[in-house]
Structures are given as C-alpha cells and as structure tokens.
C-alpha cells in the first residue's frame, strides 16, 4: 500500500511581538507595519495552512521572546492555534533559546491541538489521517550515532524530527560534507530552528532544512523571509519557500569607480528598478553601500550629498506601488589598489609635504583597522563609559558582546577615508 502524501508547514523564529532592531527613522505608517510585522507573518502562515489543508504546522524555536512577557504574543499565538484547531490542524512546537519550555508551560490555555516538546529525545507523536498513522513527529538533538536514526522502510509512516541549529552545529559548520547526519539524516525530514539563516542539506534518505527566521529582525538579515511549505511523498521531499514577512531589508552594494554624483545616482536608480518585492511585503528598508577607494567614496560621506542621492531616486518603480521604501546610504571604503608607500621621512623639514595617501595607507595598515578587535579589546575601549550613571559592568559586557567588530572596523575605515583620502 503506497504511503499517502504528507504536507506541513515548517517555520522558525516567529519572534511574535519582538520588535525589529536597527531601523532608521520611520513615519507613523511605516512604524506600524514594522510593529505588526510578526503578527502579519503569523496570519499569513495560518491562512496558508488553512488554504493548503496541511497536516500539521511546526514551530521550530524562537516563537516568542520570554523576556518580553508579551501578552500580545500569547494572544496572537492562541488565536492562531484555535483557528488551526478548528480546521483540525495540529501544531508541534519546539521551544528555543528565547522561548524555553518553562515559558511554554506558562501558556496553559493553549488549545489541545498544540503539542510542545518540552524535552528532547522523548516519545514521538503520531499524526493520524483516517484513523491511520501517516507520520510521527519528535524532537531530537543531533547525534552521529547510527543508533538514533529512525528506521523508515516501505509503507511505514513518515518521520519528522524537530531540532535547533545550535544543537546541530556540526551539520552546517561542515557544510554537510562527510557528516553522517547529513549523509544519512535520522528522519525523512529534519526541521531545524534557532538562530540561523535559511539552509537545506539533502541527504541520501532525508532532508535537513532550516527555513530561516520569519522576520528580518536585525540589519544583517537581508532578503526574503517567511516559512517553508513541505510536501513529502514516496518520490521525496518538496520544499517551497513562502514569503510571509511584510518587512524586508535589502543591502545593495554599489562599486564606486567615478566620484561623479550623477553617475552614482544613475546606478542607484538602475539597481532600484531591478528590485522586486513579494506580494506580502509592505515596507522595504534598502541600505545602499557605496564601496570603493577612499578617495572616491569619501565625497559621499556627507549628509547633504546623501540627501541628494536619496532625492535622485525619485518616485518608486511600479513594482513598489504598494510598498513603502526607506533608503539609507553609507560608504564602505576599501583599500583597493595600493598606492606606492613613500619612504619614511628622514627628518626632513615639516614643510615637506608627504602624500596624504601614504598616511591613509599607514592608517589602513594598522592592525586595529583589520577586524582584529576581539571582545576584550572592545570592552577595554568601552571602559571609558564606566562613569556613565546607567552603565555597570554587566551592561558594558553586554554592549561589548553586541558590538560588531566588523562594523566598528568599517566605521574606523570610514573615518580614515574622511581624514586622509584626497578627493579625486
């Protein structure tokens, strides 16, 4: 007897009522879109589940943030679960780092169709259709031991495992190559969640997939965000990524080879015309990065110039008719072609002018300018702030962890370009 076709939705990091970070100044309407982005994404997920009549829905970690103690998030989740319950769709939840099991236990009013895996490696839950088990869903950590692999042969039910990317580190770190968990996944479908980007590893007899976060919460999370509609049958596993987030961040890097403002404006406009929003997207935050030699890009490190460039983008392309767009422009100087470093000064009179580029080269060549600043070094720098009234050691450590050395180095490079590069 052939195995029936199984369909479900796999979502991770829903981050219900968790505000996006690193947003530029927004209008009231834009701000409202950003605030309600997680709710809109959840609604989109539920509507898709009802429309497709899926067998179940997987929430793989990060569904909400326990620290926020958000009532709104609990209500949204309850509402979604009830709608799915009315349609007979079960919801399997894997607690994550931000929504630990204790937080889920506190939500005691959830409908009965919600199954939360408070513990890993527990008993798998059977999914029935017409009084017949068509799949089993469980939660498990990664293990290379073959003993943990589910047996799936012939006409048995499909096996689905939930896990967190943090608990399956070796899978993605090794890029799948040679790891037994990838070559022979322990289930037909391993649904990963946690903090990771969208990724898929296809093994010989199964698939490991992470749909990526539902929302672009940080500035570095560019691109389409949503969930994955999975369909499994005897032929294999088909995955379809469905956009759900109304908020989208994009980073467009333009290589500056000409310091003429008009040329950059034309390039930006052309790139803008090529962008295409998804139907559910309502707000785009486009970060334009003008990269190039310091002498070329330093001209654009000016508010007035940036404002002119923003204005030069003019009206939105037709594809963005219903989408609000917010543009931010920054420069990314890089060393490019190295200028000849002059010989060190030999005590010549100060009136002797050394090329500024030489200073710039020396500046860029300094170790700190590379991404060598580690957390302890950053903490040393931030020690100056210890006199601030609202700063304590814990806060400083937290800030030091949050500071991105790459971003700090880029900012320092921008300063170097500002100080030393001579405009062409």
């Amino acid at each position: 007897m052939p195995r029936p076709r199984l369909s479900f939705i796999h979502a991770a990091e829903l981050a219900l009522d968790v505000p996006p970070r690193d947003l530029p100044d927004l209008s009231e309407d834009e701000r409202r879109i950003a605030e309600d982005a997680s709710h809109a994404a959840l609604q989109r997920l539920v509507e898709t589940a009802l429309e497709r009549q899926v067998d179940f829905v997987l929430f793989a970690g990060g569904t909400f943030d326990e620290r926020d103690r958000s009532l709104t998030a609990a209500l949204w989740l309850d509402d979604a679960a009830r709608r799915l319950d009315e349609a007979g769709i079960r919801v399997f939840v894997l607690p994550g780092r931000s929504d630990p099991p204790a937080a889920w236990r506190a939500l005691h009013d959830l409908p009965e169709n919600v199954v939360c895996f408070y513990e890993r490696d527990g008993e798998a839950v059977a999914v029935l259709r017409d009084r017949r088990v068509i799949a089993t869903v469980g939660a498990r950590r990664c293990s290379s031991s073959p003993a943990h692999r589910e047996s799936r042969h012939g006409s048995g039910p499909y096996s689905v495992l939930l896990g967190l990317a943090e608990e399956w580190p070796s899978v993605f770190e090794n890029d799948g190559g040679g790891h037994s968990a990838v070559a022979h996944p322990p289930a037909d479908y391993v649904a990963l969640g946690g903090r990771h980007h969208r990724a898929t590893l296809v093994g010989t007899d199964g698939v490991i997939h992470h749909p990526g976060p539902m929302l672009p919460l940080s500035a570095r999370q560019a691109g389409v965000h949503g969930f994955t509609l999975v369909e499994v049958d005897e032929r294999g596993t088909a995955r379809r990524s469905i956009s759900a987030a109304p908020l989208r961040r994009e980073v467009v890097v333009l290589l500056v080879t000409d310091s003429a403002e008009e040329a950059i404006a034309v390039s930006m406009r052309a790139a803008f015309e090529q962008l295409r929003p998804e139907s559910v997207e309502r707000l785009w935050i486009i970060s334009w990065q003008l990269a190039g030699e310091p002498s070329l890009v330093r001209k654009f490190d000016d508010d007035a110039v940036r404002e002119r460039l923003r204005n030069s983008l003019g009206g939105k392309p037709a594809a963005f008719a219903d989408v609000a767009c917010v543009h931010t422009i920054s420069i990314t100087p890089h060393r490019g072609t190295r200028a000849e470093t002059p010989a060190a000064d030999d005590g010549a009179d100060v009136s002797d002018v050394s090329p500024a580029n030489a200073d710039l080269e020396r500046f860029l060549a300094t170790e700190e300018m590379a991404h060598a600043a580690d957390e302890s070094r950053i903490r040393d720098w931030l020690q100056t702030w210890r006199d601030q009234p609202a700063i304590d050691a814990g806060r400083l450590t937290q800030l030091a962890k949050q500071v991105d050395p790459v971003a700090a180095a880029a900012e320092a490079l921008r300063l170097g370009a500002h100080w030393f590069a001579q405009e062409q």
Partner: protein, 1036 residues
Amino acid sequence: MKITDIHIDRFGVWNDLHLELRSSGLSTFYGPNEAGKTTLLKFIRGVLFGFAPAPEHSRSEPAQSTGQLGALTIEHGGRLCEIRRASDGRGRGLVTVAGDGAAAGDDLLADTLQGADEALYEKVFAVGLAELQELATLEGDAVAKHIYGLSLGPRGRRLLAIGEDLDRRRKRIVGDDGRSGRLARLLARDAELAAKLNEFESQGEDHRRLVDETAQWEELIAELRSRQTGYHSQLRGHVYLERVHPPWRQVRQYEDELERIPVVETFPERGLERLNKLDEELDSLSRCRDTLRAEAQNFRRQIEALRGDMKLATERSAVEGLVAQRQWFGETRARSVANEQRLTEVSATLAGQLECLGGEWTAERLDKIDAGPAVQARMVDVARRYRAALSRRKRLRRRCERIGGVCRKSAAAIRAKLEATGGGTIEEARAVLGRRLSELDEFRTLNARADALKQEASDARRELFKSDEHTGLPRWVSGVLAAFVVVGAAFAVTGLVAGATSSVLAGLAYLFIGATCGISAWALKGHFADQGRLRHESLEDRLRTAETELRHTHHAIERLAQGDAELVSGDIAEKLQACAEQLAEFDRLERRYRRMQARRRRWHNLRKQLPDVQRQLVEQRGQWCGLLAQLGLPETPRVDEAFATWCRVAEAVETRREQSALSDKVREDRRRLADFARRIDETARRLERPLKEPEDRTAVLDGWAAELERLEAARAQVRSLRRDEKERRREARQYDRQIDRLETERSALLVRGGASGREEFEQRSQWHSRRRDCLELLELVRDELETAARTEPDLAIVEEDLLAFDAEANAESMAAINLELEDLERELHEAHETLGSLKQRLRELESDRRASRLRFERAQVQSKLCRLAEQWCAACAAGDAVDRLRSAYERTCQPATLATASRYLDGLTGGRYRNVWCPLGERALRVDGPGGRALTVAELSNGTREQLFLAVRLAVVERLAEQGVELPMVLDDVLVNFDQRRTEAAVETLLAFAEQGRQVLFFTCHLHLAHLFESRGHAAVWLPSHGEALEGRRAG
C-alpha cells in the same frame, strides 16, 4: 660678522680698553669675579643694538662720568668697518659706522646684523648662566620659531586636526563633561523605557486573572438563571389558578339566579322604555303650552302701560322746528355778550391813547389822519437824508479837532528836543556830532598803531640780544670741525711719516687728504659765520624802523590831545558809543518832523470843506419840517421824537376803526335774539305750558327735545308687543292637539303588557329583562373560563383546587415569588455588569499595544546604543592608529633645528641623550632618554637641562648662520655646572662648533676652564685689572 677689535673709551668699569680678537674660532677670556666680563658682554651687545639707558638716579650726574663710548671693529663680507656708539647715558646712543665699503651708517649695520634683533641676540648669541638655565628664554616668539619650526606643515596640521576631530567625535558621544552626550541621552531614554515597560510586566498575569474571574462570573450567572426559571414555573401555576377561579365562580352564581326568577311569556318589546318615553313627552308638551299662554298675558299688560302725552304729539312739528334752532340761539347769544365786552375795552383804550397824544387830539381829528404805508415810507426817506447830513458835519468837525491836536503835540516835542541839544536846527546839531566822531576814531587808530610798534621794537630787540649771545658756531658743527681738524692733522702726520719712511707718493696722498680735511673745516666755519652776521643786520634794520614810526605816532596823538583835552580823558570806546547813539537819535527826530508837516497840510484841507457841509444840512432840515406839517404832526428837528409821535397817532387811528366795527355787530345780534324768544313763547302757550319770566329759553328747548325722544321710543315698543302676543296664542293651540294623541297611545301599551297600571307594568318588565341578562352573562363567563383554561395547556387543575382556592393566600404566594425573582434579577444584573466590566477590561488589555510600542522604541534605542558603541570603538581604533602615525611623525619629522640640537646634545652628554624633539603642535621639548623614554625638560637634571639648552642654542646659531645671520656668540661662564667629563665634552663641542668658521667668545672666571682651553691650543686672554695702564694689554 666677526669682531676683530674691541675698543672701549668708557663703559661701566672699563676705560680706554682695547682688545684684539681672533677673527674666527674660539676666544677665551679669563678674569676673576668683578673683572668686567659681563660688562664686556653688555658692551658688545650695546654697540650692536644700543646701550641700555642708565638708571634714573645716575642721570643727574655729569655726562662725563656716565657717558658710554666705544667701538667694535668688525669684519663682514670681507670688509672691515668700525661700529662706534656714543651715549650720554640717557639714550641708546649714537652709532657711527666707518668702513671701507660704499655703504655706511645704519645701512651697513643693518646689513651686518641681517635682521637679527636684540631679543634674539640676547637669548641665543650672548647668554650667561642665568639665561641658559631658564627655559623661558627659548619660548619667546623670536626664538621659538627657529626651534619649533615655522609651521607644522600640511601633514602636521592634518594630524593635529584629526586629533581635534576625534576629540569632538568623542565629546559628541560622551559630552564635554563625560556625562551629557548622546550616550547619556540614550542611556537615560533606555532606562526610562525600561521603567515604563516594568509597569506592563504583570500584563499576562492580569489577563489570566481576568479570564478566570470572567469564567467564575459566567458560572454564577448560569446558576442564577436556573433558579430564576424555577420561580417562574411556580408563579405561572399561581397565576393560572388566579385567572381561572373568577369565571368558574361566576358560572355557578348565574345558574343559581336563573332558577329564582319567574317566567314572563309575552311582553311588548321595549315596553317599559316606550312607556317612559310617552310619559316624558306628555309632560313636556303640557309645560310648553302653559308657558306660551302666560307670555301672551304679559305682553297685553305692557301695551296698556305704554300709552303717553297727547298734546305734545299734536304740536310735534312746531316743537321740532324750535328744538332744531336751539344751537344757533345759544351761539348767537354768547357772541353778542363777547362783542359788548370787547367794545367796552376798545373804547377805554382809545380814550387812553388820545390822552397820551395831548388835549388837542380828538376822535374826529383821528378820523382825518392818513396813516398808510406810503406816507410812512415818504417820512422815512426824508428822515434818512436829514440824518446823513447831520452825521457828515459831525465827522468833519471831529477829524479837524483830532489832527490839529496831534500837530500841536508833535511840534512841542520836537522843539523840546532841539532846545536840549543847544538850539538850532537838526542839520546843525548833526554836523557837530559827525566831526566829534571822526576825531575819536583817529585817536583810537593812532593808539593801536603805537602799541603794535612798541611790541615790534621789543621783539626785534630781544632777537638781536639772542643773536648776540649765539655768535659762536653750533656745538655739533664745532665737533665736526674738530674731527675734521684732527683727522686732517692725523693724515698730514701720517703722510709725513709715510713720505719719510716708505713712499713719497703715499705721503703726498696722505698730506692731500689732510689738507682737504682742513680746507673743508675752514669752509664750513665760514659758511656758518656769514649766516649769523646777515641775520644780525636784518634785525637791527627792523628795530630802527619800528622806533621811527613809533615817534611819529606819538606826535600825532599829542596834536589831537592839544586840541581837545576831553579827548584823552575817559574811555574812548564809550565815547564812540555815545556819539553813535546821539546820531541815531537825530535821525529819528528828523523823521518825526516830516510826519508832523504832512499832518498839518491835511488839517488845512479839512477845514476848507466845513462850510459846504453846513449848507447841505440846512436844506435837509427844511424838507423834514415841511413834511411833518403836511401830515398834521407837530414840527420838530428831532427825527426820533417825530417818529415816536407818528407811531402813537397810527395806533390811535387803528383803535378808532375797531371801535366803530364792534358797535355795528352788537346792534344786529340783539335784534335776532328778540325775534326767536317771541316764537318760543307762542308755542308754549299752545302746549298749555306758559313760561315764567325770566325762565331760560334754552332750558325749555332742551326739555322739549327730551320729551320728543321718549315719545318716539314708546310708539315703536307698542308695535312690537302686539306682534308677539298674537304669535304665542297660535302656538298654544298646536300643543293642545299633540297632547290628545299621546294619551291614546299610552293606554294601548298598558293593555299589551298585561298590566293595569304603571307599577304593575314595571314589575313584569323587570322580571323579563333580568332573566334574559342572566342567560347572556352565563354564556360569556363560560367562554371566559374556556379561554383561561387554554392559556396554560400544560397545567392541569381539579375542582377541589378551585373549591379550596383562597385569593389572598394565592396573592401572598405570588408576591413572595415575585420578590425572589426581583432579587434574582438584581443579582443577575449585577453579575452581568461585573461580567461586562471584566470583559471590557479584558478587551482593553488584549488591545493594549503600549507595551509593544515601548518595546519597539526600546529596541531602536538599544540599536542606537549599539551603533554608538561601534562608533566609539571605531573612534578608539582610529585614535590608536592616528597616535601611531603621530608618534612616527614626531620622531621623524622634527624641525631641522632640533635635529641639529640632537647632534650637539649627543656630543655634550657623551652620547647619553641622543634625540631632542617636540610633540606635534606643542612648544615643549622632549628628550629621548636611556631606553627610549621621552623625558620632559622638568624631568632632566640641572646639568643636563643646561646642556640641552646650550645644544639648542648652538643649533639655532647654526640654523641662523645658514640663513645669513652670522653673529659672534658670547658665552659667559655657562659650563660651571657641568661635571668634569661633560665639561671636557662641552669644550670639545664648542671648539668643534667654532672651527666651522664661527666666532665664539667664552668668558670665564674659572681658571681650570681657561687651562682646559689652553690645553687644546686656545690660550685665554687675561682681562686686566681696572687700575692697570692701558698700554701693554693686548689680546692673543
């Protein structure tokens, strides 16, 4: 520039000192304390840049003792020249430069110094131990620019600007005070948002609590509703019983009553009603008939009472005629009385007017007078002409009198003025005064001239006296002449010696120069002597001229004074002022005399016109009197009086006319009134009502009019009463016929009801009616009972319940149940309200997005905080990098002077300190010590600090020499604090420095230093003591 000789005529402790120096290399001067080394240093500086002024207390001493004089012989640009400076102790001194080049004086000195000023020289070239030890001497602008470089250069400026920019960026983040920048603001906002978010922490628990409470209240409401349903069922049973019992009871009552009432078989339909109706109609018709008959009797009696006076009816037309003229009679009689009264008043007025006009005036004379408007106009015209003639004569007379009086007064005043000035005419008095005025003016001019000449003579005499005092040559000319003579003599002697010893030609050349100097001195002396003589002669001529003119002026004054002694006495200005005032007074007098003459001529003309005016007046008076006589008025020349008489006569004429008219009217009215009274009397006699005299006829007529009106009203009323009486009698007959018909019908009805009389008929009718009603009611109650039974089909009721039904007990039960229901309803209402409130709070809580918004805002704040931390780290990293650049720059791109100083310091310290540098943008020296540690000046020992400063000065001197400023360096005991090893190193360094073609003068009071230099081939010059003779002391 190099000094080859020092010659001091007098300066401080030195007098006539002459020192010869080596033109290059180092010269050492040894002398004990107070030997004059520092004085020598000051002398060199003073000759080059000017002597320092003597202290204030020494200026009062004689110039000879404080004077400063001396010279330096220098070699500059391959030429020798002497710089000599002389000062009397009060100024910087006068410098003279004598050399063999074309340039001379200040130009040569400036060229020699190459722009070096005194400050630079003092701080760099000529220093003592005190200057060497002070850092401040190196920090003045003049020196610092040579040490620290002219500018930082583009790179240095850029690095400095970057440092400032970094500071600004950091301050923007943390603020000027480290606690008020963007960071503080963000942290404060974050804390504020966190505090606000804390308020929402219990939102979940609140929600859960509200949900639980809502469920509890919903359970309570369900229980209350169940109880309410039970009570409603009980109440329905009681209500049903209450509703069914009354009809059931009525059915039973109607059935019992029907059994008691007898049966009446036949009875006319509505018999009792018809009988009652017939009786009522009979009573009504009888009452109407009786009323009509009574009214007809009443009308007959009224007609009889209205019959009145028959005589008046017979004479009715005559009486009506008299009554119609009643108003005319009254008016005529009143007017007649008024006219008689007016006639009496007018007659009295006329009598008064006649009496006022005089006894000769009577009514008849008034009738003859014509008082019309034409006569009056004519009288006015004649009176106007007469008055004009009178006023013309009066005006002419008045003007003659006024002008004559003014002329007389003016003549008297002029005569009085002339007599006051001595008689004669105005012209004579004026000529005398003019002559006096010219004399006074001439006297004043001569006096002023004499004063001016006296002053001029005095000035000339004083200048002459001064020129006598200064006949000698000026002091500076004498000095120059003396110099020329000395130089000439020197050249002459030199020429003689040269001619005798070496060369005749050279001797002749020297003699020629000496002669030239002598001749030049003689010519110069002659030039200044001629100038003095010419000036003296000119002053003598000026004095003579002034004295001669003064004498002439005095003679003229004496001549004037002899003629008039009064002229020289008193103030001449006051006299001139008095004369001018008198002259002005004569001018005013002459103008007044001319005005008086013109007025007198006008007076004569007016007097000639007077007779003609008098004649015209006489003619007009004649016409006026003739007119009065013609009008019948008394003659009078007074116009006003004549007009007053005329007015009174006119009024009397008018009164006379009114009196005549009133007399005629009174007579006519009296006649008409008498005729009308006679007609009234005749009518009264016919009515047999004779009048009693003197009865008022008007009252009689009024009484007759009233009687006529009453008679007419009675006649109309009688006619109406007769018509009404006839109508009432006809209607009474119709009612009699209707009463007969109704009585027949009533008898027939009684027979059909089986009764003999009304009482029996009523009893039978009551039985019949009650029986029928009971049957109908019984039917209705049975229907009602069935309807009540159908309202509660699910409830059953038995006969025993109905029999045992107690309405009061049932009502009490219902009231109790209703009370319970009301309590339940109230509880339910409260529960619903509470539940609604809970649900509302739940809805509010669920729709409250404030916490989300706060979290959103806090996330952005924390993002900004993170970005700020990144910017801070970037600034720190960039600052580190810039510090490296700066450090490298400071060590490799120092000013050349400091590089040279490093070399000298290396030599002076024996290689212990090798590098001198200054931080970017600062004027502070740093020395790299052992181990590469940078030391500030303060951190160095005293000796090392002096070695550093000496090295810096040597470097500056070398740097200045490269720029063309080449001056000898004078060091005054600057090595005393050096240890032996460094002293030897310093000596070596100084010798090496001097061997580069520079001149160094080293003064010392330490013998070992002098020996040290001597040991290296530089013998010291031993400065002489101040008592030794000048001869025999030579340097070298």
